[in-house]
């Protein structure tokens, strides 16, 4: 199977079979990562630039490792946003990179649509590593991969996403991906965290966590963005922790086989209690491990690779 696209900008509009192709490829790459020498020559001679306008350790390192495991030349740039008049514009920065003959641009930017914008202007394969509050497709794909690993498939699974949905690119990408794979999604948050019309995008909406989490297969906890404190979204983190924090008592309402995910970085004691974050039901570190294989799969498929080839390595 091949992927008939050049860019990965989001999961909205990506079909079930495309997602399954990516997850299958990630399966193969995960095996490679377990080998003694976890490296293949697949992308030798290709160049990937990780252009991050927002600080990130986890995602950036995960992409770098994925590129290096595939033998691509990998360069990371921690750039500053140029919303000021003096700075170079995003398009100028990226046109310069394009002129240096790169093959992949992995971009994280604070503006929603930044990856779409660049993909329409340059002749380079663009992977969205997070654009504002819009999408973060590789994070959602690794979440889907982790769920599939546990449950075999996602059809009929009940997934509760808890937290600041309005400002979460992880939530949006997961919503599209989960729906494509047949899961049922409940969004649970205080009304100030619910973006308008979210119920029209195919999610159940709840403002009562005890109720929403009852009998769920997966609780996906989102990070509270403390930098948004000035926006009057919450009276206090204390009250948020009391009403929406995932503590042991609430986690116990999940199905017996249920588990807990968090895209990180965590605020222990706010959205998730320490004993839950580090408890037996948490798969948070599995998510991180799976991230590398998943990103290898995406790079490989976007460069025109086929899954069977990958499995042959």
């Amino acid at each position: 199977m091949k992927l008939a696209r050049k860019h990965l900008l989001g999961l909205e509009g990506v079909s079930r079979s495309e997602i399954e192709t990516i997850l299958n490829a990630a399966e193969s790459f995960k095996e490679i990562l377990d080998r003694k020498i976890p490296k293949v020559p697949t992308l030798r001679g290709k160049t990937a630039v990780n252009l991050f306008f927002e600080p990130s350790t986890r995602t950036r390192v995960s992409f770098e490792l994925a590129e290096k495991r595939l033998s691509a030349d990998s360069i990371s740039v921690a750039a500053k946003t140029s919303s000021s008049v003096k700075g170079e514009s995003l398009i100028d920065t990226v046109k310069n990179l394009e002129a240096m003959k790169i093959d992949f641009l992995i971009v994280r930017h604070e503006a929603a649509g930044a990856a779409h914008f660049l993909a329409s202007r340059i002749d380079v394969s663009v992977i969205n590593a997070g654009d504002g509050c819009h999408e973060h497709p590789t994070q959602a794909l690794l979440d889907l991969f982790t769920m599939r690993q546990r449950f075999g498939g996602l059809d009929g699974l009940k997934v509760v996403i808890i937290g600041d949905i309005a400002h979460s690119r992880v939530a949006r990408s997961n919503l599209w991906g989960l729906k494509a794979l047949g899961a049922n999604v409940t969004i649970c948050a205080p009304p100030t965290f619910l973006p308008p019309g979210i119920e029209n995008l195919g999610a159940e909406v709840s403002t009562d966590l005890d109720d929403a989490i009852d009998g769920a297969d997966v609780a996906m906890v989102l990070r509270i963005q403390k930098e948004r404190q000035g926006e009057h979204l919450l009276p206090s983190f204390r009250e948020y922790a009391r009403l929406f924090g995932l503590n042991g008592k609430r986690a116990a309402r999940l199905k017996k086989t249920g588990f807990i995910m968090h895209p990180g970085p965590m605020n222990r004691g706010v959205e998730i209690a320490p004993e839950v974050a580090d408890g037996p039901r948490s798969v948070i570190l599995d998510q991180v491990t799976n991230g590398v294989a998943l990103r290898m799969a995406v790079l490989y498929l976007l460069s025109g690779g086929e899954i069977d080839d990958a499995m042959a390595h």
Binding site: S83, A111, A112, G113, S120, R121, C133, P196, G197, N200
Partner: protein
């Protein structure tokens, strides 16, 4: 100069003219209107079959960018664009650098415009000094300089007490106060309409309520003061409803909307096209439909373009970083014919009314009339002709139109103004000397 158009559709809602016939212009004056005019001697004759002759259009909402941002638009490029769109008059906004908040700055615009073309450029002065929302500008001086209205467009006068005084103080000059209604505490940081589309795109939304609260406040202040209020760029159904109620009460309230709100919806933002980013933002279809209805009824007095040039380098950015505003002058008529008249949402006659005597009554000027003895200020267009919008042919150095590449019907052909007959329209982009006088 003598110019005769034969067998054209002569349409002037302001004077009740709606017939097929001939029209003769002599020395810049409408000499005769009739079934078949006989003339002796030298005359430039035009076959008018299939063409419509109306008073030249008046645009209440144009940003000329000079002084300050001449790379995006100059007064000269702006008035040439106006001619190309069939406009013989326009009201320009004071948010230049420096702003039009003094007699001298208003006078500069009027004089520079006169130097460039016969288009009647009527500035709106600022409500507050420096457009800073703090102290009233000297309305008397602005009026003496040629201002026909005051506005802090681009910003709302946030201080309700100050807005009240502006409406009161303007009364002595019978000066309309134009309001850009927006509660910034609700809209801050927003870039598109708040709704399911903003949720999907992850962009910060501007709730319709931000605009409607502004409209409601200013209508109430118009009632309190007896001042003349004009509501700029109404974009929501509830906003139009507020204006409707104000008019039913007999308040001195008028309102405009722009072609893009009548033609487009927020659904079209899926590709993050910054040439569809404006403030107020494109709204859902229900709002667009309500605006069409309000325009038909006359709740909205005028279509005004909110022509807002931004240079390509300013618009070719990530969505959040691009400035608000789109071009309007050169596409307005065709967009409205294509999206409103042809599908049957609005009659051609009503459209012409909302682009001629409708806006003229907002600022209390006579506007062009097609009557014998009147100064000839005419626009001639072919309502059937089709053309494709090519931004590279615009008179403006800016390219920020949401209609690029769209095939539109309705093409402006000629503007008769100031004793000149000027060939205009989209196809004149080929002519480097535009506007070339055919005769004078």
């Amino acid at each position: 100069m003598r110019w005769l158009i034969r067998g054209a559709h002569l349409l002037d809602p302001g004077s009740g003219l709606d017939r097929t016939g001939d029209l003769l212009v002599e020395e810049g004056v409408i000499a005769r209107i009739g079934g078949e005019i006989r003339v002796d001697g030298e005359v430039e004759e035009v076959a008018g079959k299939g063409l419509v002759v109306t008073p030249s259009f008046l645009d209440l909402h144009v940003h000329l960018r000079e002084p300050g941002k001449e790379y995006a638009e100059t007064i000269e490029s702006g008035v040439l664009g106006a001619l190309a769109g069939g406009f013989g008059g326009l009201v320009c906004m004071p948010n230049t650098t420096p702003p039009l908040d003094t007699n001298a700055s208003v006078r500069f615009v009027v004089e520079e415009a006169r130097r460039c073309s016969p288009v009647d450029v009527m500035p709106a002065g600022a409500i507050t000094k420096g457009r800073s929302g703090e102290k009233l500008a000297e309305f008397g001086d602005l009026v003496d300089g040629g201002a026909v209205a005051v506005t802090d467009d681009g910003d709302t006068v946030a201080d309700s007490g100050l807005m009240r005084r502006a409406l009161e103080y303007a009364r002595q000059f019978d000066l309309p106060v134009f309001t850009h209604p927006e509660d910034k505490n609700l809209s801050r940081g927003g870039v598109i309409h708040e709704g399911v589309v903003s949720t999907r795109l992850g962009l910060k939304g501007i709730p319709a309520a931000a605009e409607e609260i502004g409209i409601a406040r200013d209508i109430r202040l118009a009632e309190l003061t007896g001042g003349r209020l004009h509501v700029q760029h109404v974009s929501t159904a509830r906003g139009a409803q507020l204006v409707r109620h104000a008019k039913e009460k007999g308040l001195r309230v008028t309102a405009e909307t722009a072609p893009h709100y009548l033609a487009l919806t927020d659904e079209s933002l899926a590709g993050y096209d910054t040439n569809r980013k404006m403030n107020p933002p494109l709204r859902p279809a229900a709002d667009r439909d309500a605006l069409r209805e309000a325009l038909r009824e006359g709740v909205l007095d005028a279509v005004a373009t909110d022509h807002a040039p931004h240079a390509p380098h300013e618009k070719d950015r990530e969505f959040d970083a691009a400035p608000f505003g789109v071009l309007g002058l050169e596409t307005a008529l065709a967009v409205l014919i294509t999206h409103l008249v042809r599908p049957g949402h609005l009659s051609l006659e009503t459209l012409v009314e909302r682009m001629t005597c409708g806006p003229a009554s907002v600022i209390g000027v006579a506007g062009g009339r097609i009557v014998e003895g009147a100064e000839a200020r005419l626009t001639v267009f072919d309502p059937e002709a089709s053309w494709v919008v090519d931004p590279n042919r615009f008179r403006s150095p800016s390219r920020n139109t949401p209609f690029a590449g769209e095939r539109l019907r309705g093409e402006v052909r000629t503007v008769v103004i100031g004793g000149r007959v000027i060939a205009v329209g989209p196809r004149c982009g080929d002519n480097p000397d535009f506007p070339a006088p055919l005769s004078s």
